[in-house]
Amino acid sequence: MKYSDTVHEHFDNPRNIGVIEHPDGVAEVSNPACGDIMHLTLRIVDARITEAKFKTMGCPAAIAAGSVTTELLIGRGVGESTPLTRAEVNESLGGLSPQKVHTSVLAEDAVKAAVRDYHRRQGK
């Protein structure tokens, strides 16, 4: 399996690993086919993501996807549309191979679910 330098870099030094205590949005999503699991917690202040942490049981691409997702999320607003798409995750990682694109899908699913959780907590 060949990975971009960016994937390698994130795999070697993943950013924002862990779990935020008392998060404003939380999600755990999984891909039953390959067994990947991604856990994402968000701190959201004034409808803007100020902190994001992830944990994953997954392949190097899944770890890199989680890492880059948290980096991209911080500072973004949580309005009507999703703050992050799979295409952006894929692009930020220098392009995943067709076999590994599913890790960016998992990342987007986690983001959507965590934001949904935030809105639910807000009573919307």
């Binding site: 690993i17 390959c34 067994g35 944990k55 392949c59 076999q99």
Partner: protein, 380 residues
Amino acid sequence: MRYIYLDHNATTPVLPKVLEAMLPYQCEAFGNPSSVHHYGRRARVAVDDARDSVAEVLGAPASSVIFSSGGTEANNTIIKGVAQARREHGRHLVTSQIEHPAVLDACAALERQGYAVTYVPVDERGLVDPQAVRDSLTDQTILVSIMVANNEVGTLQPIADIARLVRERGVLMHTDAVQAFGKVSLAVEDLGVDFLSFSGHKIYAPKGIGGWYERSPAVLQPLLHGGHQERGRRSGTENVPGIAALGKACAIAAGDMTAEEERQRQLQQRFEHGIRERIGEVRIQGEKAPRLPSTTNVAFGGAEGEALMMSLDLQGVAISTGSACSSGSLEPSHVLRAMRVPRPYLHGALRFSLGRATTADDIAYVLDILPGIVAQARGV
């Protein structure tokens, strides 16, 4: 950085003595073995000598050894060649769920041509039950193909028991011996098989050479036509340097097989014991089955295999994963699924495969770094 190669089931380095044995047949004694002149005769002698060395490892007559481009070609020739030659007798084959893709995909190709194939299961230890093979035989069965040693987990199948039951019923028996050849004793008379495939690059010969044993008179339609080489079983000018190398590799393997097997078995025990001492939630596949001394397939609960493999690679240790995720499919290994490996371990399997160059020091180094790598992967 220190580099340690623990992926010998994938391929092995060419031994210097093996390289030395093949070099004369590149530039100097380059003749075509079919030529009558001096150049051809020298090449012919090299091929004949190598055939003797291979035959000795198998305890078989030299005339029963056919050279090919490798294990995949051998498996394809035998499975498709027997199916073709025996199609008037029946159109049913039997194999196992844990075979190498070279066997499984050849069988699948036959299924598309209207043959029926039974894939017998294995138990949780990774072993085929000889009775299950016998129960799967019908009056349409023409060939049974079960591997000697599994490439992913190293389990050694009871080939002699299976072959006895199969041949009692007048059915031909093939075994893919690619992972076992040159590593454990494989006398074809003891195994009782009609066909056996082997490969050179798993035993320190170069890639691109291998072959098969066939019991005479063999029922087999050749895959390659076009000449009379290898008694018409496998046409094409012989890969003389490769054949010479394989002959040398077999002579070296025969020279110290028992001692090397014992040496690796001790390293394997030290390694597996060390893993259990240092790391929790460990599962060693096929632990309770007879296994190759070279192969340890181990999974760590809560840690994903490819991530572990890449972390080990960053620290100079080369291994394979047991999860096919890294080889392009999302599905976990067909071997581990057939063995009903529990879910938490299914995606975390690593294959460490030892070889001639592996030392106790190498094992100690891996045992030093492995706990940290597993802990890190579990922490992400």
